[in-house]
Symmetry: C2
Subunit: 378 residues, 2 copies
């Protein structure tokens, strides 16, 4: 599967190719001016600069952790101490660290079905036995989750807001149900909040972390500020801080302190809600553009979700058909889409994931034309 | 042991404390002006900036890999394709990736004795059984290495130039012997070149990688340009490129592309040999300052090496004494040193590692005075 994704990335770069395939945010939205000023800021004070370029603390830059803690209090309905926040090189590294800390070969682990492929690949290296819990329209099938928890899984990995690849968010009821199920279990939830800040009208609901303590919450600046700066974080329960510190030290010493300092300066000068408002509005607009075009150009036997945030639309061809053929037909029309099968523990052959964030308006328009034309061949 | 090091780092920050304990390079040597210009450069071109802030290639920025390949050709006596070079978040992450790719619990692994603690900790997470090969004054005990290779170890981790913690470099003869032993074995060497560029009079010898193919060479900008930017690399044999790519993708997606772009701009404007000349000269001067003071103030029953590069002096108290007591006495005098025991597979109780790079001249002078005074209590 890995090599298939690499082929996908390579093919996306071919001339004339339009890509709806990856998880790239819209680079036109990067605040290059603000980040340039922040970088300048770091270098303005000789002492600050030398410390930003030196080895740093294992758990991350304190003022940055304070800002993350503040956002948890103000926007995410829970209190957390800076001591429980660990800044690392992107949330992908979180998954690796969590896998390393929790999973021994053969251990059970519950995941969304479909679920985020990158995380599944990361955890896979530690050899867990995955139990898939179907994503319904309002979140996980809680009966199935309840059953799965009886098998004593070590971890439950899930994306409650604007899930990748389905675009689904948990309903309030499901949030409460999941939190209750976890509270009574010996299973740790890994709550991936990669898209939580990208709700078109703000956050869609309280994080599970605000409802129960059995949670490691992972966050990231990748989708909202810059993925190239590789700054993610995890918020761990009290009992886990020492183990996490040791694991980070052994695995990568500490996150990039230069990036952390630039990010911290950027955040100091930025009104986060105003900043996010602009991005949310633009993604809402682009999702509507793509959805309108899909409604206009694609036949009614195709089905898809209407996202309320995040970056993805999951397209379903008729039950029993193989969407891989649609992927191939699209490729011949110079459009790259992401087959949904690899995100699934079982099934999913009839799904295709579309990203409306990466391309510009022209790309979205021409891409949907190509998709419609490919579907006629399908 | 981990928590001991964390305590050490914490204690180093106390007011009035002088530290010879860590592996920090001299932050006064960071070229803040050059790096500020490089950062500005990245932001000057809107397209370059947006790409530097976006997700990037798994194996690292091509122009940066080309520069590393060029340096291998020009200064390190071997040819390598950019395809075999992987830029990652510091060489600590290399060790983690290599451990992940090679070590299953119980596998044998040969290491220097004493050897670099950070690497040993990283590999430890994968549960190898370590076989220590004593470091002699001119490199590893090759008879012992030969014997160890018969036990089919998966890896042989070593630092041939200005080793941490001993300061020892392999002689030319030992380089050839080690290369020959490896060529006839099924063991992969991990050649840690962290200090190779810090020879006071240039490189002390050809890397083992230039003598045999059975080598993964790890390099880093941490000791020569900036550790906070977290840019290291590994150069892998032909058969390993695909596996390495997959392992990086699953573990951390890719190295910080913002840092990589700044570093690349910096290197484009920098005459590397001239730049390194300045750093080598300064470290040579500081090592001489410390050695002269040690000669003047420490009694003759203490023994130590005379480094030809790198950052460390390994001090030996009399055979049979416990240098941990010297560490404790020094701490009471507000000097932090690093006990050598944890670097050893066996023995080493009578060793202390001193770093002459971190402190300024005043710190070195006062630190050695404190060490001498602590020794009188010892």
């Amino acid at each position: 599967m890995d090599s298939f994704i690499m082929k996908l990335i390579a093919v996306s770069k071919e001339k004339g190719m339009i890509s709806f395939a990856t998880g790239l945010p819209d680079k036109r939205l990067f605040d290059t001016e603000g980040l340039a000023k922040a970088a300048l800021n770091v270098f303005e004070d000789e002492d600050v600069a030398r410390d930003a370029l030196q080895y740093s603390t294992i758990n991350g830059l304190l003022p940055l952790r304070e800002k993350i803690a503040q956002r948890c209090r103000k926007e995410m309905s829970f209190n957390v101490s800076e001591e429980n926040i660990f800044v690392i090189n992107g949330s992908q590294e979180c998954f690796d660290l969590i896998g390393k800390m929790f999973i021994d070969r053969g251990d059970r682990m519950v995941v969304d079905d479909p679920g985020y492929l990158g995380a599944l690949q990361s955890f896979s290296l530690y050899g867990p036995s995955f139990i898939g819990v179907p994503m319904e329209e309002d979140g996980p099938d809680t009966e199935r989750l309840k059953g799965s928890l009886k098998e004593h899984p070590k971890l439950y990995y899930s994306v409650p807001d604007h899930q990748n690849p389905s675009g689904i968010s948990y309903s309030s009821e499901k949030r409460k149900e999941v939190a209750e199920l976890l509270s009574g279990s010996d299973c740790m939830m890994v709550e991936d909040d990669a898209y939580g800040e990208l709700g078109f009208d703000g956050r869609v609901g309280p994080p599970i972390r605000s409802l129960t303590d059995n949670v490691i919450l992972t966050g990231s600046f990748s989708k909202i500020i810059s993925p190239g700066m590789r700054i993610g974080w995890m918020i761990v329960p009290d009992g886990m801080t020492e183990m996490t510190m040791k694991c980070i030290e052994s695995s990568s010493l500490h996150a990039n302190s230069f990036s952390q300092n630039v990010m911290n300066c950027f955040l100091e000068r930025t009104d986060m809600n105003k900043y996010l408002g602009k991005i949310r509005k633009e993604y809402k607009r682009k999702s509507k553009l793509m959805l309108d075009l899909m409604n206009d150009h694609l036949p009614s036997e195709l089905r898809w979700n209407t996202p309320t945030g995040g970056m993805f639309i999951l397209l379903r061809t008729k039950e029993g058909t193989d969407a891989m053929r649609l992927y191939e037909a699209a490729l011949r029309k110079k459009l790259v889409v992401m087959p949904g099968r690899p995100f699934h523990i079982s099934g999913g052959e009839n799904t295709i994931r579309l990203n409306y964030a990466t391309a510009d308006d022209e790309g979205i328009k021409e891409g949907i034309r190509r998709l419609a034309s490919a579907y006629r061949e399908f």
